[in-house]
Subunit: 202 residues, 2 copies
DNA sequence: ACCTGAACACCGTTCAAGT
DNA sequence: ACCTGAACACCGTTCAAGT
């Protein structure tokens, strides 16, 4: 109703800002995919000269990194909450998944390049805390955590890029249910697989 | 000694062929990465006009798919062999890993796009067979197999793109040993996690 | 300080023309 | 049949110039 031709942000002369650029880039990515994002198209969406972007963003790589950072730090809402370590791990995995599903096109890129899960990032710290509380020996927490994060990341990537859908029987009618089930299976396997590594205390 | 400027293949007038194009593309990818592969550079490496490629390959996407297929069907050497299902699964995982490590730059791309692991492909069939023989209920074989493939794929991607290296303590001196250990941890977790899903027979 | 136009060195791909 | 040159519609980015 507002702007038909100029996408959703006709912010003509509103003064360019780094955050504004990231926001516009994100909606472009969500709509058309990362491969469709170009500095020139982004500038056009913002109603600005392509070169103006370079005053706020170093280059395209930095732009993509910035957008990813913006989205990933948005997941602050991780509820560590109580429950058994199993429940907490399951909860964390779900958070990770819904975060991936919020911006699947971006995730296709983000999972590919390293640095999605940051050391000292929220996901990482939460994961390590849960593993420690579960009774995993201290020296195993980081290596096992890294492995778990990579495994789950891979699963989410397969879900997001359709590889999982292609592997599971293609005749499935309810795709969403099938991939949700896949996710549950994965988390169950990982939790059960963790069990023997924990200390004697349950 | 032979050709210094023209890369390794100075195949001037040897008549262009689909296989030759794939081979040249693969060495280019192995050397400089997928993002450095362009139709024009590839043509230059072959000593040929860029447009000539289009007589043997539909477009760049088909080229990449072809190179991936070429490499992936090269892993025929999967030794199903005997041993417990645990050993066989471990063996299969290692095959998958060494295949990823043979062409890491290509894998960065291949893991990202769906279709690396094909239904009815060798890896997939071997995986399903092992799971069946392990005693996994028949209706679980495909969903669990899809999940395992995605999980391991994610781990290998993290290894290949450096995400894993970044997550595990960056002060590690022997990086290869650390990522090899990560892989062993992952496979152990997956095998242990599979255990409770198997039938009563061991 | 912020923005811009012109320009450079690239892309993938189409198409009509050559042999 | 196979190859090519010119051309089209794009890229990211630099740089000197404008306000």
């Amino acid at each position: 109703m507002a702007g038909d031709k100029k996408a959703s942000t006709p912010r003509r002369d509103v003064r360019l800002t780094e955050a504004g650029i990231y926001a516009a880039a994100l909606t472009l990515i969500d709509t058309e995919g990362v491969e469709a994002l170009s500095m020139r198209k982004l500038a056009a969406a913002l109603g600005v000269n392509p070169m103006s972007l370079y005053h706020h963003v170093e280059n395209k790589a930095a732009l993509l990194a910035g957008v990813t950072r913006l989205v990933v730090t948005d997941v602050q809402s991780l509820t560590p909450s109580g429950g058994t370590w199993r429940d907490q791990l399951r909860h964390l995995a779900r958070d990770f998944r819904s975060f991936a599903q919020a911006h699947p096109r971006l995730m296709e890129y983000a999972f590919t390049s390293p640095g999605l899960i940051q050391r000292h990032g929220i996901l990482w710290l939460a994961l390590c805390r849960i593993l420690t509380e579960a009774g995993l020996p201290a020296e195993d927490v980081e290596p096992v955590g890294a492995v778990l994060a990579s495994l789950v990341g891979g699963l989410l990537l397969s879900e997001v890029n359709g590889a999982l859908r292609r592997l599971v029987d293609p005749a499935t009618e309810d795709v969403d249910a099938a991939t949700a089930r896949s996710f549950d299976i994965a988390v169950d396997i990982l939790i059960a697989g963790l069990e023997p590594r924990l200390g004697l205390r349950r």
